[in-house]
């Protein structure tokens, strides 16, 4: 090994810089809270509009949903100026994202069909309510989990 005589404190400071820069990249990449709240609200509005079966409400709901979603995604893309290395997310991160998605979809679909079978009015809208809450509450928590996961990985790997 060819290690010059640099003071250990300097080495520790250098490692702190490495970790800080990685945290900077990770934080730049996380989906912000406002995106989750926005998606939750848009989804509820859209499903409620569809289920109303009122022509003009469906039209307005569709337009608002499309414009709102496009705006949110555009804002997110403009904010994310760099892509975090896939290896930092890893299998555990991917599983967390997949688990979050599948759980919300399963809850929404199961609840919607169950309420419909029971003859409850507005089953889709009611079925989407826990999904929207799950997005608004769970989305930011998922991001916190992913952040912890990414920052817990060794600073120089694995690749």
């Amino acid at each position: 090994m060819t290690t010059p005589n640099i003071p250990p404190v300097d080495a520790e400071l250098a490692l702190a810089e490495v970790r800080a820069r990685r945290a900077q990249v990770v934080d730049t990449n996380l989906v912000p809270d406002w995106f989750w709240y926005g998606i939750a609200v848009l989804m509820m509005l859209f499903v409620a509009a569809m289920e109303s079966e009122i022509g003009w409400l469906i039209a307005v709901g569709t337009i608002v949903y499309a414009l709102g979603l496009a705006t949110l995604i555009l804002a997110l893309v403009r904010r994310a100026r760099v892509q975090v290395r896939q290896e930092l997310i890893g299998v555990r991160g991917a599983l967390a994202i997949a688990g979050f998605t599948v759980t919300l979809v399963a809850i929404g679909v199961a609840l919607g069909f169950t309420l419909d079978a029971l003859g409850v009015p507005l089953p889709a809208t009611l079925g989407c309510l826990p999904v929207a809450i799950g997005l608004a509450v769970g989305g930011p928590r998922l991001m916190s989990h992913l952040r912890r996961l990414m920052l817990s990985r060794p600073v120089a790997g694995p690749r």
């Binding site: 090994m1 060819t2 080495a11 520790e12 900077q24 760099v82 060794p154 694995p158």
Partner: protein
Amino acid sequence: MTGTPRFDELIHAPTRLSLVSLLAATEWAEFKFLRDSIGLSDSALSKQLTTLEEAGYVDIRKSFVGKRPRTSARLTPVGQQAFADHVAALQEIVARAGLAVLPDQLTH
């Protein structure tokens, strides 16, 4: 990628350490992101990237988004290995001095 402790003078220079640390956490990183993150001028960042590119540590890609040129950079496999080795060397220095127990040494 596991690092074999090897101190790298090229990477250790403060600005380049910041730059390589950012690149180590990203896929392709835009020039603007790197410039704004580190707080360098365009010319200073270009110079540092060229130094790293000449060492084989960095790939630089120039593309166009519409009519606007966009420059991006990423660490090459050689650069990733050099960075991993350098970090391992730093960790070894710290560990030998018994200065601190790094989070990296506690996990994985």
